[in-house]
């Protein structure tokens, strides 16, 4: 068969995507030639913002490497522009004098940045933000100059401004409207955005018309129509784009704003197609990647002779790629006579949500401050769902939990590339994918703006469940090549009973280290709590000494105070001990305990004996505290006995060893005075029920807890907490907090496991076994002469 000659003008995002799709459908049919003005292989233009903002290099954003062109036998002419199209002879000519004939021609020349025709716009130091070269020049400028002005407060302008700030420049953003991103946001959201960006250091000059760019050869500043002026060494114009249609126009291909195309991306000239930003479909020239990719798909089908309903236009959604700012908008954003809105506005937290309703159907949305509903709303808009559906879904417990597990299969995960949850899950299962990069390679999801990366990783975790950890083989430390799971399996299979034995039998390369020894000690104890002899020399100092070591080598002592409740008698004892041993400081901790700081190691046993209170285990990889609110007993809002429940939980689970520390809290109403939302296990009492949240972390990686279950009955709650903790004990890596563990396994998976009543019973049997041997470590230490001598006595000569 003779191959058809397919020529593509424009090596950008839309054109190359169309070619990729063609190769997917029918790699043998075409002889492909690509011309590109820019001297690089195809790259991800969207991520230029990230390059400018730092942390990403130009080479990181290449979409198809040079080899891709070779591998697919594409003739690629980088740095070569097409200068004319002859539609009669079906050929194109280039600035290098080349003439190439075509059977099919794709025009994908993108757009040009719109440069305001101001006096002085041709001066040195006036830039657009469109391609790699612009980006590199701005970076160069920032090394020599201090002051930048960005004209245009839209998406591109703000991303440029953020980048220039990161590069150490002072930045003024000039905008003609009185609020930012007026095309995507309403006034309220635009104003909120402004406040947020001002906090980040941007300066805004709103409702100003630039009249002139001042300076001799090089720009020195801007002059506005009202006569006022500012200084600037660099001016970035980001006021819009216009489709790059000159080539088509000259060739007599009908053009309006963009090159006019029908639903099959056909221009009015036979065998000539246009796709991407240079094309105009049903009166719209799109300027975002998602619709262009959809067009690319349709065009590829058309070229390969597959008929379908064609391209029907796109609903747009936008997200601003500036860290620390969450903005989302999609569909219709401004109210008119035919619309109604559902709006919530939390001024204090800066959270704003607006959903536009037309004839009872969701037609658009603007979110600021909290965009986690974005994907869901976008899908509702595209499906023209009724507003009730959204409202119901936000009220149901399931959606509050908001995980990928709850999404339906046809919901979009990657908006840019139009990849649904279903197709990702399918790809994971069919090809045995285990990493985000593999999913990216296989499905294109997260290949563009990258905004959906975390969703993809969640999806991996919840699709693979237990396997997700097994596949990520990661040795427990440098002393072995075995992973946690392999070591556990060997311990169980071979019946290994102590650390040295594990290291010998499993051929450890060293005598162990500060990572594997404590881990092995924990795993052995977890597997056989009744027989295992805890090896104190494998414990980190705090856990060996049962007190926290401080930076000067002294310790701190934290007596237990169940549920944060104490008595005057206990307080008196604490005060007396503090006086007698001259402790450095008495401090109330974040977990509602009293901390005695600056105690000498030799004094520890004496203090414990005199306090005669159980250890607060403030040092342990185990249950630390159960923080409680006042609740029913005194608080006017309390619906439940939070203190009683807190004490019950603390008494039941104290002394338990866990992979990492575990903190709990019980609040008696959603006001959450005990901060249950950021605890490993957080309980919130509501009228007639207890809600159980898990996986929260107030630490370095702040994570909000997820709602797991709700219980009417306190006993059921305690039983579930037991099961949850035991599952965590059995399946987490040593030193993995519940937050990371929940993320890794997926909430849905955990919920599924714990929905099995039999499992819950078994988990409880095992945790009760582990709890049955728990002793108060302080009491043990002060009554065991050997321990006292080995750990606490020093030799003084």
């Amino acid at each position: 068969m003779i191959k058809q000659k397919l020529v593509l003008i424009g090596n950008g995002m839309a054109g190359v995507r169309a070619v990729e799709e063609v190769l997917k459908i029918n790699p043998e049919n075409f002889e492909i030639t690509i011309f590109g003005t820019e001297p690089y292989p195809n790259y991800n233009r969207i991520q230029l913002s990230k390059v400018l903002q730092g942390g990403t290099s130009v080479s990181d954003i290449t979409l198809n490497e040079w080899e891709w062109y070779e591998d697919n036998k594409i003739r690629f002419y980088p740095g070569e522009s097409v200068t004319s199209i002859n539609t009669k002879t079906q050929s194109v000519s280039t600035d290098k004098g080349r003439i190439e004939s075509y059977d099919q021609l794709i025009i994908a020349t993108g757009s040009n940045p719109f440069m305001l025709p101001l006096p002085g716009a041709d001066k040195e130091g006036v830039k657009a933000f469109r391609n790699i070269k612009d980006c590199e020049e701005m970076i160069e400028y920032s090394k020599r100059y201090k002051k930048a002005a960005v004209i245009g407060g839209g998406l591109l302008g703000l991303e440029a401004a953020r980048g220039l700030l990161n590069l150490g420049m002072e930045v003024d953003v000039i905008h003609i409207y009185d609020y930012l991103m007026e095309r995507q946001l309403d006034r309220t959201a635009g104003k909120l955005l402004q406040v947020e960006l001002e906090k980040q250091g941007m300066n805004f000059i709103l409702q100003k018309n630039t009249a002139e760019i001042t300076g001799r050869k090089h720009v020195t500043g801007l002059k506005f129509s009202d006569g006022s002026k500012i200084k600037a060494d660099l001016v970035v114009m980001a006021v819009g784009i216009k489709p790059n249609v000159a080539l088509a126009q000259e060739a007599g291909i009908p053009v309006n704003r963009g090159i006019i195309v029908n639903d099959y991306l056909e221009t009015e000239i036979p065998n000539v197609f246009a796709v991407g930003e240079c094309a105009e479909h049903r009166g719209i020239a799109y300027g975002l990647v998602a619709p262009l990719y959809q067009q690319g798909q349709v065009l590829a089908k058309r070229l390969c002779g597959i008929r379908d309903e064609g391209y029907q236009g796109s609903v747009l959604s936008t997200q601003l790629k500036v860290s620390g700012v969450d903005v989302f908008s999609a569909g219709k954003i401004n109210e008119d006579e035919s619309t109604k809105v559902y709006k919530t506005y939390d001024d204090w937290n800066g959270v704003y949500k607006k959903v536009l309703i037309e004839n009872g159907k969701i037609a658009g949305a603007v979110l600021f401050g909290d965009t986690k509903d974005g994907n869901k709303l976008f899908n509702f808009i595209k499906n023209e769902s009724r507003i009730e559906e959204y409202l119901e879904s936000s009220q149901s417990v399931i959606s509050e939990v908001n995980t990928v597990a709850d999404m339906s299969d046809d919901e979009l995960i990657c908006g840019c590339n139009g990849v649904t949850k279903g197709s990702i899950v399918e790809a994971i299962k069919a090809n045995g994918l285990t990493t985000v990069d593999q999913v990216k390679g296989c499905t294109n999801a997260s290949r563009s703006c990258g905004g959906c990366k975390s969703l993809v990783s969640d999806l991996l975790a919840c699709t693979l469940g237990d396997q997700y950890q097994a596949d990520q083989k990661e040795a427990i430390c440098g002393c072995t090549t075995l992973s946690r799971d392999e070591v556990l399996a060997e311990i169980r299979e071979k019946g290994l009973t102590h650390i040295r034995e594990v290291m010998n039998v499993l051929e450890w390369k060293t005598d162990g280290c500060s990572k594997c020894k404590p881990a092995l000690n924990y795993y052995l104890g977890m597997i056989d709590p009744l027989k295992y002899q805890d090896e104190k020399e494998a414990r980190y100092v705090n856990e060996r000494m049962h007190a926290n070591i401080q930076k000067d080598g002294t310790y701190s002592v934290v007596p237990r105070m169940y549920g944060g409740v104490t008595t005057s008698e206990d307080l008196r004892k604490i005060a007396d001990v503090a006086d007698k041993y001259k402790v450095g400081m008495i401090k109330v901790t974040g977990g509602q305990r009293i901390d005695l700081l600056g105690v000498y190691k030799e004094d520890l046993p004496k203090i414990w004996a005199e306090l005669d209170m159980p250890s607060g285990s403030a040092y342990s990889k185990g249950l630390r505290t159960v923080k409680t609110c006042v609740g029913e007993s005194y608080c006017r809002f309390g619906t439940q006995d939070s203190i009683g429940m807190g004490i019950r939980l603390e008494k039941k689970f104290e002394g338990l060893n866990t992979p990492h520390k575990v903190k709990m809290a019980v609040s008696a109403c959603p006001r959450n005075c005990a901060e249950s939302g950021i605890k490993d296990v957080g309980i919130v009492g509501v009228e007639g029920a207890w809600e159980m949240y898990v996986g929260g972390n107030g630490g370095t990686h702040l994570r909000e807890a997820d709602l797991l279950f709700k219980f009417k009955d306190g006993d059921d709650l305690v039983e579930m907490i037991g099961a949850f903790l035991q599952y965590y004990r059995e399946s987490a890596k040593y030193l993995e907090r519940t937050s990371a563990w929940v993320d890794r396994l997926g909430l849905e998976h955990i919920r599924e496991v714990l929905s099995d009543e039999l499992m819950v019973k078994e988990f409880n049997n095992r945790i009760n076994e582990a709890l049955s041997v728990v002793q108060d470590p302080w009491n043990e230490a002060i009554h065991n002469k050997n321990l006292l001598r080995d750990l606490y006595q020093t030799v003084k000569i």
Binding site: R500, T510, D511, G512, C513, S514, K517, P518, K536, E537, A538, R539, Y540, V541, R544, M545, I549, K551, D552, G553, K601, R789, D790, L791, T794, V795, K796, I797
Partner: protein, 132 residues
Amino acid sequence: MIIEEELELMEKTMRSVFIGEVADLPQKLGKTVTIGNKEIAVFKTENGDIRAIENRCPHKGGVLAEGILSGDYVFCPMHDWKISITDGKVQAPDVGCVQTYPVEVKEDRVYILIHEKVGGEGNCSTPLAKGV
């Protein structure tokens, strides 16, 4: 010749200090021993060797007697530096060293040899980081 003289001189200025019976030392753990104004961490390793090093980590002064002992190394409890208890060298990627002291065991009695003169030790000279 000269070397022998020096050795002799050294021996004279070394003092042997009794710190306890072998059985008094905890297995696979460190013990804090203070001799005059010197704080020393004494370790009894898994195979029964006894080693003595200065009880301060060259990083930020962590007390080494409380570190996790693995073979001939101790991991500082503060920031996990790995330090040899035989020659006092800090292991890569970190650098530095701590003073080591010779140990003698006679009839199950443990002695540490230290120089008479204060500051007279000489196999390590990493100063502690500032502010410690």
